[in-house]
């Protein structure tokens, strides 16, 4: 049961960084230094995640949390080190991800399920609709008319429909109303009860303590603290 699900071994990520802000040929011609420089986003990240364990990731804005999540989903390739993953990973849950603003709620459900390679039968669609709590009239509207809370409900409901071993959750609880927040926490607990792993990014240490057993604290792309959720959260509070 205690099998390692995910292991990071000295993972570093560098981004090519436009030194002079080169986004146009004009900028390129007027920049005297070399246009491309590399910036280290993640530096020597090492941790393991066992099956059924949940990991919290804490850190300031810009400390590399989202990049770390992207390396898990293999969207970003590490420049050094190795990411070993022995399970399937659900797509990152983050705000408004992949929703096509011109399409209706129903069309978006269909599109995203196809992109996530999930079954698109009536039952799975119905469970998404039920979880989102959005009514038929709303779902027939173009998504661009939704409020940010409604967008969050829709995109999270679709992402939760994935059947995977690891769920990556990036700041879910920031936008939804209280009802949806408790619904999400309920869902997370259900998933944990099923033996799934959760990787949870949040700026609320209380939530991290409630959901995760382990946590890491990132600062400037490095893990500065690694331990039980309670310890790491205490360190995180000291940062500010």
């Amino acid at each position: 049961m205690n099998k390692t699900l995910m292991a990071y071994q000295h993972v570093s990520v560098k981004y090519r960084h436009n030194h002079a802000g080169v986004y146009s040929i004009k900028d390129l011609l007027t920049s005297f230094s070399r246009p491309f420089q590399y910036k280290t986003i993640l530096d020597n990240i090492t941790f393991t995640l066992a099956k059924g364990e949940s990991l919290g990731i804490l850190g300031r804005n810009g400390s590399g949390k989202s990049t770390l999540l992207r390396t898990m989903a293999s969207i970003v390739k590490p420049y050094k080190g190795q990411v070993v993953c022995n399970g399937s990973i659900a797509p990152i849950l983050a705000l408004g991800v992949g929703l096509e603003m011109e399409l209706t709620g129903y069309e978006n459900i269909d599109l995203l399920l196809a992109l996530y390679n999930q079954p698109r039968d009536k039952k799975s669609v119905q469970s998404i609709i039920d979880f989102s709590g959005l009514d038929d009239i709303t779902l027939k509207q173009a998504v661009k008319c939704y409020s940010s809370g409604m967008l969050a409900r829709l995109s999270f409901s679709i992402s939760f429909a994935n059947n995977c071993d690891i769920y990556i959750i990036d700041e879910v609880l920031a936008v939804g109303d209280l009802g949806f927040q408790s619904q999400c926490i309920q869902k997370i607990n259900d998933l944990k009860a099923e033996g799934k792993s959760i990787i949870f990014v949040s700026h609320f240490p209380d939530e991290v303590e409630r959901i995760c057993e382990k946590a890491i604290l990132l600062e400037g792309g490095k893990i500065i603290y690694d331990g039980s959720a309670a310890e790491v959260c205490a360190q995180y509070r000291k940062l500010f």
Binding site: V22, S74, I75, P91, L111, L115, N117
Partner: protein
């Protein structure tokens, strides 16, 4: 197999989104060529009376020009516009320009069906040689895809590329013998036309559509060669750049 699903979903999205909230939907796809056709007929008919069956001559070029133009100009933005998806789901980035070309292919097939009916009035002969359009279109779609691929990748790093491409397109259009015949170009400038790869494809399309002949195999070979070269260059360049997309979009 799962990737095919993703590609299908993206292409479908492109088609739906393009004509969403428009009154006449995909009919716009052949209003644009039709308008250009009218302009050419009205303005140039006395100049170019040397062309027999002018309507058929122009249509057989203009339809495919707009296919190319739509693919490349929309495709150039495809990766930049899908930033949200690329940052959150693992989808091979090559699918975004590819889905644009597939969506456009769907549009041109619809347009072709309508034009096949209309063009019968203008003297198009129905025969089995018309089926040559299918392999030529396939080849031309691959060529368009390779250009789209390069543009979409470069556009991630330099947004000028998309704008630049839209600026030079009209020039490219008039450098392609669509509304006029090659013979109109003075001999000493003919190299300008011959340097334009689209010229060869348009010429090839005219064999079955305009002249009702089996395509010249030498020309066909040339087009295959152009496609192979452009595709290899495009895929090479795209693979070099694709890992850096995430940092620039």
């Amino acid at each position: 197999m799962q990737h095919l699903n993703q590609l299908y979903a993206l292409s479908k999205r492109n088609i739906i989104v393009r004509y969403k909230h428009s009154l006449i939907g995909f009919f716009w796809g052949f209003f644009k060529p039709l308008l250009y056709l009218l302009i050419f007929i009205v303005i140039f008919s006395s100049q170019f009376s040397s062309i027999s069956n002018q309507v058929l001559y122009i249509t057989s070029g203009i339809l495919f020009w707009f296919f190319f133009s739509n693919c490349t100009s929309q495709g150039a933005q495809s990766i930049v516009q899908s930033a949200g998806l690329i940052k959150s789901i693992y989808i091979p980035t090559i699918f975004f320009p590819l889905a644009e070309v597939i969506g456009e292919l769907f549009n041109i097939l619809l347009a072709l069906m309508v034009y096949f009916i209309i063009m019968n009035w203008f003297g198009m002969i129905y025969s089995l040689t018309l089926f040559w359009v299918i392999p030529i279109l396939f080849l031309f779609a691959l060529f368009s895809f390779s250009i789209t691929l390069i543009l979409s990748a470069l556009n991630v790093f330099y947004r000028d590329i998309g704008i630049l491409w839209n600026t030079i397109q009209p020039a490219l259009f008039y450098l392609t013998p669509i509304a006029y015949t090659e013979s109109l170009i003075p001999q000493k400038f003919s190299f300008v036309i011959k340097a334009n790869p689209i010229y060869y494809f348009i010429k090839l399309f005219r064999y079955p559509l305009y002249e009702s002949k089996v395509p010249d195999f030498f020309l066909f070979g040339k087009c295959i060669l152009i496609t192979i070269v452009s595709c290899s260059v495009a895929i090479f360049l795209f693979n070099k750049m694709k890992n850096q997309f995430i940092t620039a979009i």
